[in-house]
């Protein structure tokens, strides 16, 4: 089987500066250097070329799976995750590798000027190698991106469940958006914790911003209310819009055990009569 030749490696090693210069120019021309410091880019390209040269030297062939390519794989994994954090898209990220093709091919063309057969073979092999590096970069980029997105989702989860203190002894939890199992869990936990922390007697859960109340949402609400009552506090559900009320009836949900109010201000009025506050005096 054809292999990458020592002569190809020599060509790369003895033309490093030229390769680096053309490579960086190609990266810049294609917008793959956005938000990157020149210093960092210079260091990254130089380091990669060095690792590429060592990989070729190791004789691991042009399959990236070989042990001789360990360092290159690790480099690309780190690159992908820093690019993902910088907000680079997959195209910009993988272009780090693909931008090297042009300069490298030009170099080999000049190097094997008099030997077209070897040129074709070496070009093919180096191209395969760079493609597999590109694939590896894309794959790890994807994984890093997913990690970033998951973290953002978790942050959002926290943000979108604000428990606010409306009055001494009265907490409110305005729910907005869909209530899937994970979010319901977070919501319930933070509400229960706040009830303990503030020693509140009444919690108002406002569902004006919840588009669909189905059996799962209802079940979560019922469980939350039960838990609140077990803690010796009470709960009012507010913001049940007319269309939701009709749907709940047809669905067959029995929310008769819950205290409900049409809107948040009615719920607050009711809460205040229970905790002995007077809206007229203090607002």
């Amino acid at each position: 089987m054809a292999a990458l030749q020592g002569s190809t490696l020599d060509a790369i090693n003895s033309n490093q500066e030229q390769l680096l210069e053309q490579w960086i120019a190609s990266l810049e021309a294609n917008g793959a250097t956005r938000n990157l410091k020149e210093q960092v880019l210079k260091q990254e390209t130089r380091e990669f070329l060095q690792l590429l040269s060592e990989g070729l030297q190791s004789g691991s062939g042009n399959s990236l799976a070989g042990a001789g390519w360990d360092a290159v794989r690790r480099f690309l994994e780190k690159l992908s995750s820093t690019r993902a954090q910088l907000g680079h898209d997959s195209h910009q990220t993988v272009y780090f590798i693909f931008a090297l093709k042009g300069p490298l091919f030009a170099l080999l063309q000049a190097h094997y000027r008099d030997d077209p057969a070897t040129l074709a073979e070496q070009l093919w092999l180096i191209s395969e190698l760079l493609d597999s590096m590109g694939m590896h970069t894309i794959r790890t980029y994807q994984a890093s991106r997913e990690t970033v997105i998951r973290r953002q989702q978790e942050e959002l989860l926290e943000l979108s469940t604000p428990v606010v203190k409306l009055w001494d002894g009265v907490l409110a939890l305005p729910l907005i958006g869909t209530l899937d199992s994970q979010r319901s869990q977070t919501v319930m936990e933070s509400l229960l914790q706040r009830i303990v922390d503030t020693g509140s007697e009444i919690a108002i859960i406002d569902i004006t911003g919840v588009p669909t109340v189905d059996t799962l949402v209802a079940q979560h609400l019922l469980k939350t209310v039960t838990a609140i009552r077990l803690m010796g506090a009470d709960c009012i559900i507010s913001g049940i819009r007319p269309q939701i009320a009709q749907t709940i009836v047809h669905l067959g949900l029995d929310l008769g055990t819950l205290t409900t109010k049409a809107n948040l201000s009615d719920a607050l009025k009711l809460a205040l009569t229970r905790v002995g506050g007077d809206l007229g005096q203090r607002v």
Binding site: T215, L216, H250
Partner: protein, 134 residues
């Protein structure tokens, strides 16, 4: 009766239930459904899509916008290749659940739409078709 438009959506994981609801909401809007009817339909979709994921092991939601002599409606088919339902009468009883649910999904969905059809057998998967006219 004419099919004016149709399509399909995979319903495999819990997030797909949200997508199914959003698509149903959009389609019902295109059919000119009133807010109450739209809300009822979307809630039924939520129940059936979740059953498809939870009990059916994932499946698809096929949709059709129907035109019946000037009357517009939305027909949705939830199909999976899961275990099927052994006792249809039991499954269609208010409050019966094999999991930890409220047992109101199927019966509730049936009450929320104009037409409801359940086609299932043990080992044969489950197909639920619902239609709501605007």
């Amino acid at each position: 009766m004419n099919v004016r438009d149709s399509g399909s959506l995979p319903v495999r994981i819990e997030q797909d239930v949200v997508l199914a609801r959003q698509l149903a909401r959009k389609l019902a809007g295109e059919c000119g459904m009133r807010l109450v009817d739209l809300t009822k339909l979307v809630t039924a979709v939520s129940e059936l899509a979740r059953n498809t994921v939870v009990y059916g092991g994932g499946g698809d939601m096929d949709w059709q916008i129907l035109d019946n002599y000037g009357r517009t409606g939305l027909r949705l088919l939830f199909r999976d290749e899961g275990p099927g339902i052994p006792d249809i009468n039991l499954a269609l009883t208010d409050g019966w659940t094999s999991g930890g649910g409220l047992g109101l999904g199927l019966t509730g969905a049936r009450r929320l739409v104009d037409e409801f059809e359940l086609d299932t057998a043990p080992g044969q998967g489950t197909r639920v078709t619902i239609t709501r006219w605007a």
